[in-house]
Symmetry: D2
Subunit: 344 residues, 4 copies
């Protein structure tokens, strides 16, 4: 159930509706839109009677939400959500680019990468301090030292920092250093972690699990919104199929489907998606052409020496070429105002 308030509804009217919802043992979610506030209701088992609310002051309409996902859906919020990350935006008309190394390895490596991607037009820096690795014997990341280096790189470049949190115990520490928290594909259905993100005041980049359906992906995001954090971006990073020539199968079909079902920004990760350095630019182009709002790309000053994912990381000049390609497609679609040149 969604209660749509009139454009001129007062805060007191909104609060009165919320209170009425609470009095029924349910949870209200006030969602501000461009024109009006809508109030989502969760916690009900069956359908609610709209008549309970329709005569309250300030209420314009009540709408049954037909999808199992509610707060993430277009039904609840028709306009695209835009995440504001300290001035840098993710979502909306301009294409955002997130770039940087798979893992933070050293101060030199990270600063070199950060300056390089900034030069070519990225606005977000990615880098892992905590790395989910298939084997317990592989490099697991620098931990807090890595986070400190990310903060240093932000200071040096102005780029906003995106980094993965794996362990709820690390959440406070990650929040101290990061601008956007990434939830990795393997944790997409780590529901206890998702719920803890509800209390977080920073945006979340949620990656699709390698065998998650689009519906499950939206439901995972719904966990975060239902817990109180509406700042979520959805990242398609490749699903697992029978194909072995590519690392994963970047599922660009998900892009228009997600955009039509949800108001959340959609990010595409061509690096993990296809997993082959030379084909990353083609998939970045295709992702934007499919309608994505942002791309996230692995860039390393010396890919051949990378401690992880070197085979799919771009060298900085290659990233420069990718940005050229991204600009061409984004411009063609009228989506590239802030990408029109190196920005040193």
């Amino acid at each position: 159930m969604l209660i749509v308030m009139k454009p001129n509804a007062t805060q007191a009217q909104i609060e009165a509706v919320s209170e009425k919802i609470r009095s029924l043992g349910l949870t209200p979610h006030a969602i501000p839109g461009a024109q009006r506030v809508a109030i989502g209701i969760t916690g009900n088992k069956g359908a609610l009677d709209g008549g309970l609310f329709e005569s309250m002051p300030g209420v314009a309409d009540t709408i049954r939400v037909s999808q199992p996902f509610k707060l993430v859906s277009r039904e609840v919020k028709a306009e695209d959500s835009i995440l504001d990350v300290g001035g840098a935006r993710l979502g909306g008309q301009a294409i955002a680019v997130i770039a940087g190394p798979c893992s933070v390895e050293s101060k030199d490596q990270l600063l070199e990468a950060a300056h390089g991607v900034k030069l070519h037009g990225a606005t977000f820096l990615r880098g892992g301090a905590f790395k989910p690795r298939t084997s317990p014997y592989e490099f697991q990341g620098l931990g807090e030292e890595g986070l400190k280096l990310l903060a240093l790189a932000r200071e040096a470049t102005g780029l906003k920092v995106v980094t993965e949190v794996m362990d709820p115990d690390d959440l406070p520490m990650c929040l101290d250093y990061a601008d956007v928290l990434q939830i990795g594909a393997r944790n997409m259905q780590n529901f206890s972690l998702l719920r803890k993100l509800g209390a977080v005041k920073k945006p979340i980049l949620l990656k699709r699990g390698p065998s998650a359906t689009i519906r499950e992906f939206l439901m995972a995001a719904e966990y975060i919104l239902a817990s109180g954090n509406y700042q979520v971006a959805l990242c398609e990073r490749g699903i697992r199929t029978f194909e072995t020539m590519t690392r994963n199968t970047l599922d660009l079909n998900a892009v228009p489907v997600l955009k039509s079902l949800s108001h959340l920004p959609v990010v595409v990760d061509p690096s993990h998606g296809i997993g082959l350095r030379k084909h990353v630019p083609a998939m970045a182009r295709a992702g934007i052409a499919a309608g994505a709002d942002a791309v996230i790309v692995e860039v390393h000053p010396r890919p051949d020496q990378a401690l992880s994912d070197g085979h799919q990381s771009l060298a900085i000049p290659e990233f420069g070429e990718l940005m050229q390609q991204v600009r061409i497609i984004a411009s063609a679609l009228g989506r590239a105002p802030r990408l029109d040149g190196p920005q040193v």
Copy 2:
């Protein structure tokens, strides 16, 4: 093994090398390129000794082919192959668009579709006269009557006709009417049919099987080339995955991989790929952005009355909008000279 002839090699020198190959019990495949002719060799069990050919007049070099697919590979032919279909081209710099109904249903339906797609810039007309249907009780196509209508539509519009052949017995009849023969996804590894296409003098549009790896797809094309027909285009039309919101998962990762491994033109089928009418244009855009040479799209004058695939067919005005999108991306990539306006 590939024998690269000198740019000025004579026809007699080429024939002498071919004869030498035959004398070893093997099969020569002379492949003309922009600069020089290369001669592929098939039929050998192990590696051949290049020394057998290197001293022959006109021979520039011998190259070991490292991939299991040979005649389709870039190693054997570096330049993009372009299919010439009675003047209409598939492959090369310009993006080709193939459009039309899933099934030929009637004269009116087909002519309306043909004129509509022609108006908006398509150069090829698709339409099925023999339909592979999951159920024996579903509409199986009009057969020869459908082929005749396709020929009529060609006469009326100048569009080249692409139609599927399922049964080797129908091959002569299909050849009488069609300009390009389509092999459907379910027949991608119907090796006896593939071999029969080697003797055909018309181009083949080979669709990727729903669970075929890229390597298997290229090997299926190799069957046709090895049997003597080098006029083949590769069509990605969606693979089968766990996702159920989309009909198939259009695997755009395959596009740059195929383009880098093979010289054959690559076509993308967003209609079957995503299977949802409203998302077909996004996937067509993405396919071209990924590097495809052509798109094939289902268009029906009245999709809701279609006997098959209506839910994924575009109405003619929707196709016009798709063409706008295609032009925008193709132009951005410098690939759209022949698509710049309605062509009545």
Copy 3:
């Protein structure tokens, strides 16, 4: 629609009902059961009115068939179908074992294999004369020479011959030599071939395609029955998944599902299914425990010298051990009367 005749219905009454069906432009399929004949109807677009038939002499009942597959369904025929192959049975209470080499390679190889599998209790000999191979450059089978050797092996051992037909042109030749025609996984939806099998008077072993759903598999069988041949066995041989340690993923879930939906016998192919010699016996045991009526196993006198599939073929003594395992499980389930000892 299914018309169930009374147990004592006469042939004339059955014919009268069939004629009435034909008069409506539809096709009757008289399906004899243990107690009574049922007449399936195909060709209708919507639901038929049962009242058209209910008052006809000999008619006991009319039943709406709820599944898209009809003639293969348990609704149409409740009892298990048993294929009678010149006295050898496939389906029913006893477990049948089909064994032999992937490809027929030579007289010695085949006779050695045939005598070996006969000794250990197989009743059917498998062997490919026409081989569907991913690459056009791999061994494609001995063709008619292979068929002749199979006939020779039958004469020598009394085993019934199961062999694959790929090309409709080879159908008459295969029928001359084989007792059961196998349709390979890649041809499961080669509908023009399936339809031609309707006119064949020999049983068909239809393999499930690597990405065919259970429903599609049943619909493929339906093509054969609807074309007039009711002697079909369904063979699960592994589906394609993301797992790479095994060749395919033998989907034993399909066994109880198929058995509950269809009256046709179900065969399991552990050799292709798991593709690893040492695990073939475990999967054969599991297949029978899941409810399969038969297993088909690759056996070669010298697997390491096999021209195809050697890594998954059992040597003859290994097959003997597999048969021990099969007997143990089959006996436990009360299904193994004819497998209780070497039968030289």
Copy 4:
């Protein structure tokens, strides 16, 4: 690297080798076997020189471990591991059966289920107090109240309690009540949780992720062993494929592969695997026939009223019939001594 001690090696000699390993900055893992102790080494980047250890007293041999998984591998420990859960065993010659409801719903429901499954021969009681649900709006389990009910049911029946832990914060509480901790499929690569299980003194039932390869599954178990807890059982519960008639595809191929690669016990979950009540017994039979050491089955006193997974839960009499089937197969394989009758 694995150091195999002599059968008569003293504790001091084992400790001396362990100390030597630590002095190299690496981690020793002493793994007791039936005949001798082996010491696994982890933490090394490249190959170690066996000569460093071969002359030490008590050392019999040094072995290079060829697989990426080490402590879980048969190379490190040839004999089957058996988990001892307060006298109840998981692994080894007898087949163990774990049964109970998907979710703990109430005292009556749980006690009824527990007495029912005990009566028919189960030795472990399953039941979820914390439920991972796709939607945040679905029943999430009773939490600690559910754990208390499980402890009550253990007291009443003597069954050992198996329950899922999702959140590291709940670990101490779960340890207070449970005998075996289950890690659900969605958390199989929740590496921070896996590492925390290393310090736990209770056995872990690790479920395979729906798109995890067998190698990834073993690597996830390796995380737990490498962190110090060697009491792990591996549970195959179905992978995600394109098939939609079954909930998942129970991958019984994984059973013999896991048993040959690893010494850990293998459990099969036919309830989640096929997800259809009437086919659970067939898949339980097949799982044991494939070589599994245990089955885990959902049982509910009134499946149609279950708050979760009712469609795949067996009623208690159905579970009794399943146990009959399990006994038949287990007995045939010589694996069923403790299952030979109701045990009230």
